[in-house]
């Protein structure tokens, strides 16, 4: 029972990160109607930036800030320099460009930083806190859970309480109508990309040190989990990303705890296939998203 409680608590913390990363996929999907398969690689570039800056300055926090800023800059560069020129009449073109981008970015990271795993420091202890004899989350897990939830709450406020958020939502729902109403839709798409990759970078920087280890392929599995979360929750749904994150996080942690870490990706893939078979649009997908 103690083990189950520990695994559930850890699953919630991991799920919060997956939800955050999945939310970044939802943001791009809603802004540009692209499933960005390069999200993991772009977040990884930002994580390497965080690693390098933290190494240079000796401060985890400065490294974290540098990583998030690099993520936003990556979003800007990729949207303005690459994705804007991908043909929009065929959804596959954006996917193919993104897959090409993954290869380029991972190769460049390998050239500049090597293929070896690099240790990343964390600002808090990662040993579980024991409460009444039951091991629960570590201080670092608690930090991750709190900041992931805080970022999600912040994004929710941004979208529901600010003019920028309203324009982002309007642009996503009906770009042509938004233009007539004075919304600069192209700028909104760029902001959507910047926001999205910054959030993905934040999630990767939180998860890589303790779960993945830093190497040019660290975020492959994170993208797989987050993509599953987005599909489970529905690519259009922010609530779906949150709930899907918890489902995938708990599933992954339980499978890891009881069957072994090597089986975890299979468990997540089984979940992905099951959802695709039963409800391809996701559990929380919106039926009516865009208006003419």
């Amino acid at each position: 029972m103690d083990r189950l409680i520990f695994l559930l608590a850890t699953g919630f913390a991991r799920g919060a990160i997956f939800a955050l990363f999945a939310l970044s996929l939802v943001l791009i999907w809603r802004a540009a109607r692209i499933v960005n398969f390069a999200q993991g690689a772009m977040a990884l570039v930002a994580t390497y930036a965080a690693f390098a800056v933290a190494g240079l300055t000796g401060s985890y926090w400065i490294g974290l800030a540098a990583g998030i800023i690099t993520g936003a800059a990556m979003g800007l560069a990729v949207e303005r320099g690459v994705m804007r020129f991908a043909p929009h009449d065929n959804p596959l073109s954006g996917v193919i460009v993104a897959i090409g981008l993954v290869m380029v970015l991972q190769s460049l990271l390998g050239i500049f930083f090597g293929q070896q795993h690099r240790p990343m420091s964390i600002p808090f202890d990662d040993s579980p806190i024991v409460v009444w004899g039951v091991p629960l989350l570590s201080p670092y897990d608690l930090f991750v859970l709190v900041v992931a939830l805080a970022v999600m709450a912040g994004l929710s406020l941004l979208f529901t309480r600010t003019s920028l958020g309203l324009q982002l939502r309007a642009s996503a729902f009906a770009p042509e109508v938004s233009r007539i109403l004075g919304v600069r839709v192209t700028r909104m798409v760029t902001i959507g990309w910047m926001l999205s990759v910054a959030v993905a970078a934040f999630a990767a920087i939180l998860l890589v040190p303790t779960e993945l280890g830093l190497n040019p392929h660290s975020t492959d599995v994170l993208f797989l989990y987050a993509f599953t979360v987005a599909v489970v929750g529905g690519l259009d749904s922010t609530v779906g990303a949150l709930v899907g994150g918890v489902i995938v996080g708990v599933t992954m942690t339980l499978v890891t705890g009881y069957l072994g870490a090597t089986v975890a990706p299979i468990g997540v893939l089984v979940l992905l296939v099951a959802v695709l078979l039963m409800r391809p649009s996701g559990i929380f997908s919106m039926r009516e998203v865009r208006s003419a």
Binding site: Q167, F173, I180, G182, V183
Partner: protein
């Protein structure tokens, strides 16, 4: 924006030799007309006459030739510049954001205005939709959605209001209320250009009418002049008037 900023010599909207072609098809050919501040001008014609294309050309939604001026200044060449130039329009398909609430729909064009909340409150009350302000637009019945679409067009206090079939799908009571709101806006100095199939409504509200057929102006004048014009009857009925 309803303040009259025009110079004495320039109409609010001046369209000269407007031509729009889609590939080899010329949808609008050499159309010219003016709309003065405070005036209601109706653009009518049979289906396919090019009325909505004229609207889309004024709004820079399609590539246009000829000139379109607002208060003597060239009209924006991008749709996102319309609101900044005091131009607002409704769409045939309403174009509401069904996933947003009524209030949010009205807030979208006011993103940069400090007084946006007050403007939205005023327009919601004026159009009688304040009670559904926080409801998703997609959940409203059609007449209420029509009113929300008009409220969204009016909330920016336009100098030029383009209405694409505002009476379509409405009952007589709603049409009467719609007419009152349009007249009120015109009396405040707003120039109104509308496309409408509802002939009685057009005749009752328009100061002037421009009739299009096959992309060209075939008649223009007051409602009485247009009603008696044999070319208009011919265009609508497809036969030469006796």
């Amino acid at each position: 924006m309803t303040d009259d900023n025009s110079t004495p010599s320039s109409p609010r909207l001046e369209v000269r030799d407007l031509t729009v072609a889609f590939g080899g098809l010329t949808a609008v050919a050499g159309v010219s007309f003016d709309v003065e501040p405070g005036e209601i001008v109706a653009l009518i014609g049979p289906n396919g006459a090019g009325k909505t294309t004229v609207f889309n050309a004024v709004c820079a939604l399609v590539r246009r030739r000829g000139s379109v001026s607002i208060d003597g200044e060239p009209a924006p060449t991008r749709p996102s510049g319309l609101v900044g130039h005091g131009v607002s329009r409704t769409l045939q398909g309403l174009g509401l954001f069904s996933g947003l609430t009524v209030r949010e729909n009205l807030l979208v064009p006011l993103a940069s205005r400090a007084d946006r909340e007050a403007l939205v409150d005023r327009e919601l009350s004026r159009l009688g939709v304040a009670h559904v302000a926080h409801a998703p637009v997609g959940a409203l019945p059609y007449p209420e959605r029509k009113r929300v679409a008009l409220a969204r067009a009016l909330v920016v206090q336009p100098r030029l209001l383009l209405l694409d079939e505002p009476a379509g799908g409405l009952g007589s009571e709603d049409i009467a209320a719609l007419g009152a709101v349009i007249r009120e806006s015109a009396q405040a100095g707003c120039a109104v250009l509308l496309v409408e199939h509802h002939v009685d409504f057009v005749m009752s509200i328009a100061d002037r009418i421009v009739v299009l057929d096959f992309g060209q102006v075939i008649a223009r004048g007051t409602p009485d002049q247009v009603r008696d014009d044999p070319r208009v009857e011919e265009a609508y009925l497809g036969v030469k008037a006796a």
